[in-house]
């Protein structure tokens, strides 16, 4: 343990603790800008300066380890002056566009300027006109607003291993951009949106699709339907002053009806169907040699995109199941349309997702148009929904609970935990166990696949089979698992796993790029607990036990994994280039 003092207060911390974290421990707040608790310090901004007592040297508290006997002063007029000047310098290189900025009232730089009480600009503006890159239509890059904190680059390169973003230029001309000034849509970007989640200012943000939703809601010829992803319900409350992880399912149903949606569905139902199909697929591969093992989950579109770009040799291992929201949308425009006798052309499906890559997924391939129309018309993120709620003036926190449209909304516990890392695996194993042995999985809480560890490996006994499974979240953790498979394949050995789940975002969908901001592991844990609580309160825990799922197969699809299921619920993969020219950016566009 290290013993030191901060502003005279004794502090005892573990070796390797930074001055910043040590100060936090004794409730001394040091202002920061570039530092994010999830990411290693970039030491870029120069706001968190503190002083070693007795010297005139200032150090960065974010990246300096506290050492035995250190005596740190965090507040003197000189320190405040330096911090304030640095902040003013940053502001002099940042446009005053707060009123129309995507991050208005939600911007770390804006808050800091307010905290420092900056009232006038002593230094003239130094600004360059830099082009906005909204080519990819999932995230938007506005380099002029960038403060070069480097968080997005850490997220893109180190956390996600995508390397779509990097620093270009030097000195004052430094900016963030894909390598060689490709546009985002030409770059390897997989739209996981972690860059946008970590950006402290309005330099990277989600492409706004809310206008399309308002347009449809105001169009009397449209039959607007909506679905909400599992992760949305445990996070949206944060934007209205509620605790992370509190379940807001009932309020969301009410809200969406009041906003004008004619039917409110739940993506969790789609997740239940996904599991039934995926578990069937797995059992077929395991017992009948119907395809290669390990089976790799495919419900995360950023992961699918990543695999198609960087690991195309894994295509045969991928589950052909669509993601839950695509499954639900396909069913809405076929099954639901038939049942209610509404032409699918008039159905307008909005999906509310924690995810930015879903905006790409909704037109990624022909299979996303299985109804003859684009199955999901618009996918918006949790943050976009929050903005829409604020526009309606609805007081979210005082909304009563209500019921959804059960036919495509009722869900099992297995469906709801789709939103957390390990959840797909757990739900699938529950059904696999039943399919293989006819019995439910004994110990229903599979602790080994739960939690925030980057790669989780487990060995699970199901009947006569011992299944080796792996769960990875955060794309940067995938390589380890993939390489293990490759090595075995090269040596001609048995594959090391039977089943692999990957989610692109750390923590799974609950930590998605489109979720309310201020993410860190504590928030992730609370959201995860929220979904596990939902699971434990569900009447049915196993996806295939969901009576609405049974009804769907009985009335419409036939058997699990039937030809009809394959036609509607499954998709295919192909190798995509990491870099491509704009002409090659194969967007199918909207069908309408």
């Amino acid at each position: 343990m290290i013993h030191a003092r901060i502003n005279g207060i004794r502090v005892e911390v573990e070796e390797g603790t930074t001055v910043l974290d040590a100060a936090k421990k004794v409730n001394v707040k040091i202002p920061t800008l570039c530092k994010h608790p999830d990411l290693p310090p970039t030491a870029a901004c120069g706001i968190c300066m503190v002083q070693l007592k007795g010297t005139d040297k200032m150090i960065r508290s974010c990246c300096t380890e506290i050492t035995e006997g250190m005596d740190i002063i965090t507040l003197t007029p000189e320190i405040v002056e330096v911090r304030k000047t640095v902040l003013e310098l940053i502001l002099s290189n940042h446009p005053n566009a707060c009123l129309t900025c995507a991050r208005n009232q939600n911007c770390e730089l804006q808050s800091l300027a307010a905290e420092f009480g900056i009232k006038e600009e002593l230094f003239g503006k130094i600004l360059k006109n830099l082009e906005i890159d909204d080519s990819i239509k999932t995230i938007v890059l506005e380099p002029q607003k960038c403060i070069k904190c480097g968080r997005c680059i850490q997220a893109c390169q180190e956390m996600q291993n995508v390397w779509a973003l990097s620093f270009a230029g030097r000195g004052l001309d430094t900016r963030i951009a894909p390598a060689a000034d490709f546009t985002l849509v030409e770059s390897p970007c997989v739209s996981c949106g972690q860059c946008a989640a970590y950006c402290p200012v309005g330099a990277i943000y989600v492409y706004d699709d809310t206008a399309k939703v308002w347009g449809a809601l105001n169009d009397p010829s449209k039959h607007c339907v909506v679905q909400i992803a599992p992760a949305v319900r445990v996070a949206i409350g944060e934007s209205f002053g509620m605790e992370s992880g509190e379940l807001k399912t009932g309020k969301l149903y009410t809200l969406l009806r009041r906003m004008g949606f004619q039917a409110v569905f739940d993506t969790n139902f789609g997740a239940d169907v996904t599991i039934v199909e995926e578990a069937t697929e797995f059992v077929k591969r395991l017992t009948k040699g119907g395809g290669v093992l390990p089976l790799i989950s495919s419900c995360c579109p950023a992961w699918v995109d990543f695999m198609e770009k960087f690991h195309p040799d894994m295509i045969p291992n991928f589950s052909t199941c669509k993601s839950p929201h695509e499954i639900l949308a396909a069913l809405a425009k076929t099954y639901y349309a038939l049942q209610l006798n509404i032409p699918p052309s008039s159905i307008f499906m909005v999906s509310i997702m924690p995810c930015i890559a879903k905006k790409f997924e909704i037109h990624r391939s022909r299979e996303m148009f299985v109804s003859g129309y684009q199955d999901v018309n618009v996918s918006i993120t949790t943050r976009e929904l929050v903005r829409m709620i604020k526009q309606t003036g609805i007081d979210f926190s005082s909304l009563p609970d209500s019921e959804p449209d059960h036919m495509l909304a009722d869900y099992s516990g297995g469906g709801t935990i789709f939103g957390v890392t390990g959840g797909v695996m757990e739900a699938a194993l529950r059904s696999i166990s039943s399919f293989l042995t006819g019995k439910p999985l004994g110990n229903i809480g599979l602790n080994d696949v739960r939690g925030l560890k980057g790669v989780k490996e487990a060995r699970i006994k199901v009947g006569d089979y011992t299944l080796n499974v792996a769960v990875a979240h955060g794309l940067g953790n995938v390589e380890y698992v993939i390489n293990k498979i490759r090595n075995a394949r090269e040596k001609g050995e048995e594959p090391p796993y039977h089943f692999i789940e990957v989610m692109a975002c750390p923590g799974g969908c609950i930590g998605g790029g489109g979720q309310p901001r201020n993410i860190n592991d504590e928030v992730r844990r609370l959201r995860i607990n929220g979904l596990y609580t939902d699971d434990s309160h569900c009447k049915y825990r196993d996806c295939h036990d969901n009576p609405q799922v049974k009804r769907l197969y009985a009335e419409f699809l036939g058997e699990y994994g039937s030809k009809k299921s394959y036609d509607i619920l499954h998709t295919y993969y192909r190798h995509r280039k990491e870099y491509k020219s704009y002409r090659e950016t194969e967007f199918l566009g909207e069908s309408e």
Binding site: P41, G46, T64, V82, I90, S92, G171
Partner: protein, 545 residues
């Protein structure tokens, strides 16, 4: 070619050249750009054609830039003389035993040559020349007499401090690198890097040494590598120094041929390999953490220290990074003993320092002097005073990280400590002399522009601070300055000094602050009277004579 053994090295002697006399042509970049190559070729051609018994040699740079191309002539049994500023025809006439008294030049007195001991003396492209000058005797002494600890001890006794800028004691860097834990205690456990990314405007002593005496730097690297327990060293040289790179590469190849690099050097168990890496021209890559990033193939960004490179450096391994001039001192210190070396110098600044004299000085060039010599002696005695009979105004030392020293301090003995007290630094040893025609504001603007151009952009204080400071200085020199601009400048400078991530940003305000301190009246003239007394700022009036 035989691999050198300890014994062979002891008795090394090149075959004695016939006592016919020689002509040496200074063939560093400076000489070549002044026409030395043509002269050299003409000599070689003529001597061959007419069968004249005179040996034509190449050598490095004697440091007399003002007299390039420089030719040393020793023929006809007469003592050797130096000729400067000769053209091809005049030079050729020397072969006919003509004397050209009007072109005779002399080396400035008062120098003490340690680093430059072989520069301008030996042919840098011949290892044999270096061996003749006690070359590779020092590494032999380290290996067979001293051992690593005592080698470091000698350096400690010598008082040698880093010649690249900050003046960190070399022995401490080595000791810390030696004692830091490495995750790999085999071949690639520790590294030694020679920082040849010299980038200060007006400083070129490192180039001169690399070009003029590459083997002494290589030997310095070997000794450092041996002392810290490293078996791999890197030369990081800026790509704008192609001749230095070429000569170092040539010298490294010669060492491998002689068995002075590679496995079991001089039949000892010391293995050492050297490689070269080229810097792409970013000034910040002279900063050690950015330099490491550059060698690793990453963007040349500095990172916070600690951990220092001696603990966590290249590829995470303990790494010592020494400047060219520092390393060139090392063989001398080992051979002559640390104590001997420490007798030169003053206070905490021992040994000599090479200065690059440029600007409004009569004899521009390199001068190696014992530390403790006064600025006046360097400028007037060695530099020959101010050119064109103008009045001395100030001298800028330490490049863009240094400061401006006014004539009030001309009698300051130069040392790391005294320069710091004057608000400047030793830096790499650039000295830019200014006369009455130079404007203090304009000079500050020049250096701020340099730092602005060279800021890597990683940290906000430096990236935006240099831009804002430059903008304000441009405003002042453009005649639009206001009094409060000075307060803003000071505030920006203070924040940059305290909050910049690396040395570049922390020291970038030094020239500006020192010029403001020494010449505040000139700033006020610019701002209030719209006058530039030196007449440099075109938007302003010149003060009437």
């Amino acid at each position: 070619m035989p691999k050198l053994t300890k014994e062979l090295l002891d008795t090394y002697k090149t075959p004695a050249s016939p006592e016919t006399g020689y002509i040496k042509v200074g063939m560093n970049t400076c000489g070549i750009s002044a026409g030395a190559q043509k002269i050299y070729d003409a000599f070689v051609h003529k001597v061959k054609e007419k069968n004249i018994p005179i040996e034509i040699k190449k050598c490095g740079c004697l440091g007399m830039c003002h007299a390039e191309p420089l030719i040393e002539v020793k023929i006809g049994g007469k003592p050797s003389v130096l000729y400067g500023r000769l053209d091809r025809e005049k030079a050729l006439s020397l072969l006919e035993n003509k004397s050209l008294p009007e072109f005779l030049v002399e080396e400035s007195p008062g120098q003490k040559k340690i680093v430059l001991r072989n520069c301008g003396v030996i042919d840098p492209e011949r290892i044999e020349d270096y061996l003749e000058k006690q070359g590779y005797q020092a590494i032999k002494k380290s290996i067979f007499e001293l051992g690593p600890e005592k080698t470091i001890e000698e350096i400690k006794k010598s008082g040698l401090r880093g010649r690249g800028g900050a003046g960190f004691p070399t022995w401490r860097k080595w000791k810390s690198t030696r004692e830091s834990e490495s995750s790999d205690d085999n071949h690639h456990g520790r590294f030694i890097i020679c920082n040849g990314d010299e980038g200060d405007p007006g400083a070129y002593m490192d180039r001169s040494v690399l070009e003029g005496d590459p083997h002494s730097v290589i030997e310095g690297m070997m000794i450092a590598g041996y002392a810290i327990g490293s078996s791999t060293g890197y030369f990081y040289i800026r790509a704008e120094y192609p001749l230095a790179v070429e000569r170092i590469r040539k010298a490294i190849a010669q060492c491998y041929r002689y068995g002075l690099l590679g496995k079991n050097i001089l039949q000892s168990d010391f293995n050492f390999d050297l490689e070269t890496r080229l810097g792409a021209g970013a000034f910040v890559c002279g900063e050690e953490t950015a330099l490491i990033a550059s060698i690793e193939g990453r963007r040349g960004y500095p990172r916070p220290r600690p951990p220092y490179p001696s603990v966590k450096g290249l590829w995470g391994k303990p790494t010592a990074i020494n400047n060219v001039e520092t390393l060139a001192n090392v063989p001398y210190i080992i051979l002559n003993g640390g104590e001997n070396y420490s007798r030169i110098g003053t206070g905490q600044s021992r040994g000599t320092k090479v200065f690059a004299l440029t600007g409004k000085i009569m004899n521009s060039g390199l001068a190696e002097v014992p530390m403790g010599m006064t600025l006046r002696e360097i400028i007037y005695k060695i530099g020959g005073g101010i050119a064109n009979n103008k009045e001395f105004k100030a001298v800028q030392t330490g490049g863009p990280s240094g400061g401006i020293i006014s004539k009030d301090h001309l009698d300051t003995p130069i040392s790391y400590e005294s320069l710091q007290e004057l608000g400047s630094i030793m830096g790499s040893g650039g000295m830019i002399v200014m006369d009455e025609d130079d404007c203090a504001v304009d000079v500050a603007k020049f250096f701020m522009k340099f730092c602005f151009d060279e800021s890597c952009g990683k940290c906000a204080p430096c990236r935006i601070g240099t831009a804002q400071a430059l903008k304000i200085l441009e405003k002042i020199t453009g005649g639009n300055g206001r009094r409060e601009d000075l307060d803003n400048l000071k505030r920006i400078c203070h924040a940059m000094q305290k909050a910049s991530l690396c040395g570049l940003g922390q020291t970038a305000p030094n020239p500006l602050l020192s010029s403001l301190r020494n010449f505040e009246d000139e700033y006020l003239e610019h701002i209030e009277d719209k006058i530039c007394r030196a007449g440099r700022c075109r938007e302003l009036m010149k003060r009437p004579e």
